[in-house]
């Protein structure tokens, strides 16, 4: 049996968002979220970790070029320079860092397989990140 490894590749995307619950009147949104109701943006950093046996032949857990392609096509192209509130994946969901992590997982799991995808880490800025493992 081959040893297990965890490989992480880092991505980034710049996206706009605001905190807003459509079902609430403006006053309640402003009371709850304050300045976060104003449309603004972040340079997000995304760390995607996959795990699995280290292939005895290639020495790799995953071909990082494949990981780069899958995450690039599935997540980065979709969210980079996009308005997250307008993305169908956030319909009825506030694009908080938590919900972005869950959305990224939900987008990647069918492509990479839940047996390979280990963790999604979304950094909103250098002081805040959320880890989600499905």
């Amino acid at each position: 049996m081959s040893a297990r490894g965890y490989s992480t590749r880092r991505f980034s995307f710049a996206a706009g968002h605001r905190y807003w619950v459509d079902a609430w009147p403006a006053a309640r949104n402003e009371e709850t979220f304050g300045r976060l109701t104003v449309p603004h943006g972040h340079n997000y950093t995304l760390d995607v970790t996959v795990h699995g046996p280290i292939d005895p032949e290639t020495g790799m857990v995953i071909d990082l070029a494949e990981l780069k392609r899958v995450v690039g096509e599935t997540v980065v192209e979709r969210f980079d320079h996009a308005d997250l509130n307008a993305d169908p994946v956030f319909r009825g969901r506030v694009p908080t860092t938590e919900n972005i992590a869950v959305a990224v997982w939900d987008l990647l799991a069918p492509k990479l397989g839940v047996e390979r995808l280990w963790q999604v880490r979304v950094w909103e800025d250098p002081t805040l990140y959320v880890d989600y493992r499905g």
Binding site: Y19, V94, N99, V102, V114, P126, V130, D131, G134
Partner: protein, 152 residues
Amino acid sequence: MSAPLMAGMSAPLTVLAAPRLELTRVYHFSAAHRLVSPRLDAEANARLYGHCARPHGHNYYLEVTVAGCPDPLTGMSVDLGRLDAIVAGAVIDRVDHYALEEVPALAGVVTTGESLARAFWGLIRNAGPEVALVQVTVVETAKNRFEYRGGE
């Protein structure tokens, strides 16, 4: 809120609870310290801790990880304002620009990264018992990080 997609599985029969995740907030403080064990004499301390026995300081980072489930409506798992206030009151305001050996809340603590992480865990726990603490990390320098996950 949709449940996470499971490759190769049909949709769950029941609606799953909101996904559990971990949120980490990074704080910063600068402080002076020196490693001195009260159980050892000056010569033994100098021998054991070397350079670290001399008064010096660091730009520390404190990473606080909490568990939570995003609220289906607000998408937030943690009240970040409340967490920031707890960590500021329990730790940052007490240690930022102080000598750690003179901080009353750290009395009796040899200020290694490991012991600071454990002490900060206790201070945060006392100030905010409702916080679902998962890990407290003290980053002393770019080369040293110390993680404490509770327990003895």
